[in-house]
Amino acid sequence: MPKKILLISFNWANHFSLALGYLKAYALKSRYVRDNIDIEIVDFDAEYLDIQQVIYYIIQSRPQIIGFSCYCWNINKVLDVSRIVKTILPEIKIVLGGPEVGPVSVKYLKENHYIDIIVKGEGEVTFFEIIESFLGMGRLEGIKGISYRKNGNIFDNEDREPIADLSEIPSPYLEGILKPRDKVTYIETYRGCIFRCYYCFEGKNLSSLRFFPDERVKKEIEYVLNYPGIKSFHFVDTIFNLKKDRLRWLCEVISSANRYNTELRTVEIIAEFVDEETVDLFKKANIKSVETGPQTVNEDTLRNVNRFYKEEKFKNGVRLLEDNGIEVTCDLIIGLPGDSFFKFYKSIRKIMDLKPTNLVFSILHVLPGTVLYERSDEFKLRFDDKAPHLVLGTPDFPYEDIDKAVVMAYSIDKEYNI
């Protein structure tokens, strides 16, 4: 009887985990794994599902290993479930991975005795090797990119380099592991980011760009676009309009495969890179909405967080998109170091003057693995070290002002995004 692995994610708004799809797709490359392990991906609703339901499902499934995909928004549920499951079934191995735990793996192991292994960084190869060790084909000591508990002690193995050639990872869509669903299907064409924003872990930890093979991306796009019931989908790429030549190719692929007028929504772009040709390409690809920064418009703050922003080009990009019927959502962050209550409001006013379709506010999360997290003392950043790691104050933006800014932003959000 094959052994059982449950890969679990708690997601918002009916999304499903692409990351877990990659883990399974990579692991199933091995015939031995295919023959001996049953890997099941389970996506639970982070908002409405009671953890008792999750625990019931796990107990019924009787897995030998549970892998959780961890983000700042779901880690508390993951820890609750793990703790209870481990108490009921101590023999189950609890493996955590994802950006919330990877950069601070030892800390999580120390604070949570029921966690067995934490994967640091990209998980595909590492998780496969964990499965191999579970099948007696290796030892945890030899696996790069993990921290783990053994005989009551915590060990932190050396980090693993990101996978150089992404073609090694099979497509979870084309392998039939993930089924596209309307509005929540993401395609990833590359990993990494050209920018190094200090509040984000993408650029810092995955600095060099690595692309999935063109042919595979093309097949994924064709597969998703022709999948029944898909009216809109997304790309998870950090910057969709990264390079003009690639954008031309990508939009041509989407356009050619798009037989049912499927829409592409909420792709992340850099507004400064948008010109007339970009807009034409977006329209060709039936892109209906894009999301962009600038997070703040204040020069000192931009410098503090190493954020790229060119006011005139940004303005021009937003105008070009809006004038051509492509909805633009602009993002602003509350609590960045260097901002104050009124500087934050100045950002709001400046961006409202550009008249984007939507304005989205978020409070700064000082995430593990980011420069802000590691250099928080230097920035005199106070934040909650427990997820979701909300900022609690900076020298220019004390807690009381951040709190008021949040209340103000919520009200402006309701008024502007009507």
Binding site: N298, S340, F341, F342, K343, Y345, K346, R349, M352, D353, K355, D401, D403, K404, V407, M408, Y410, S411, I412, K414, E415, Y416, I418
Partner: protein
């Protein structure tokens, strides 16, 4: 805050409020065509400075052509059409539906008291409180995405009830509260504790709150709630002057002055120059 192009629609109103800024002897409507022309008028700054349009008066919803005006504003390209209203006609659910369906999704509802005794005394219309509250509730409970602001006009007849009014509208889950001072014969010394309590109650309940007609020197520690700071506009039909001490105030540049009527009653004692302000640098940034 958002900037609205203000369209005056005439002075007719079904309330008869004491302290009303717009009450005039000859009660009239502007004709439909004039209002439409105002909506479509391009001003010298260009309409791009505005985030929306505000229909005010008088009571806009009394107009037979209100749905047409809302639609005209939408056709003119205004995504956000806001109506400043006493809310009484919104006590009819069908009216809420019609206005929302016409494209008006933002409302600023004037309320004067937390009970009929105070509210109706100020509006001078019996039963107006019940209708206004029902109108507010109808708006807030309507399932469509919309924005509802409660505008509390504060004066000597209701200032002691201010915290109760704030609590009442918080209970309805409005999206913003504005406390507007429109009675310059009311002593600031007695008013300000109620203002500050109200701000604290509102923020505690996670609802953004602004004041109108109050100055920096009155609002120490609560400056972030001064509406004029964001809008740069002063709508009261009052004559403003500066106190002798205002010349020493570091924030004078950002202050329109003090009501001359108030000075004639209470003198300058309630206005002290701000010698040092930690928000001065921020204000410079805001107005740069």
């Amino acid at each position: 805050m958002l900037r609205y192009k203000r369209i005056y629609i005439g002075s007719r109103c079904d309330n008869n409020c004491k302290y009303c800024n717009y009450k005039v002897s000859n009660i009239t409507w502007l004709d439909t065509q004039s209002v439409i022309e105002s909506i479509n008028e391009r001003d010298s700054l260009g309409d791009s400075v505005y985030d929306g349009i505000l229909l005010y008066g008088g009571e806009p919803i009394l107009r037979n052509d209100i749905l047409q005006l809302v639609k005209e504003a939408r056709v003119a390209g205004y995504k956000r059409v806001k109506i400043l209203t006493n809310g009484r006609l919104l006590s009819y659910q069908e009216m809420v539906e019609q206005i929302v369906n016409a494209g008006c999704l933002l409302f600023e509802v004037k309320i004067f008291g937390s009970n009929p005794d105070i509210h109706d005394k100020i509006t001078q219309v019996s039963n107006s409180f019940i209708e206004t509250v029902k109108g507010l509730r109808n708006l807030c409970e309507n399932q469509r995405k919309k924005f509802v602001c409660a505008r509390i006009q504060v004066n000597r007849d209701n200032f002691m009830d201010l915290e109760n009014i704030v609590a009442l509208v918080i209970d309805m889950m409005v999206d913003r509260i504005i406390i507007s001072l429109n009675d310059y014969e009311l002593s600031l010394r007695v008013l300000l504790p109620h203002i500050k309590n109200s701000i604290n109650i509102s923020i505690l309940n996670r609802i953004w709150i602004l004041t109108e007609g109050l100055r920096f020197c009155n609002m120490g520690g609560f400056e972030k709630h001064i509406s004029e700071l964001y809008s740069g506009e002063h709508f009261n039909n009052e004559e403003f002057v500066y106190a002798p001490g205002c010349n020493d105030c570091v924030l004078k540049h950002y202050c329109p002055g003090i009501s001359s009527k108030y000075i004639s009653i209470y003198g300058y004692d309630d206005f002290k120059a701000v010698n040092e302000s930690n928000i001065l640098d921020d204000l410079k940034v805001l107005n740069a």
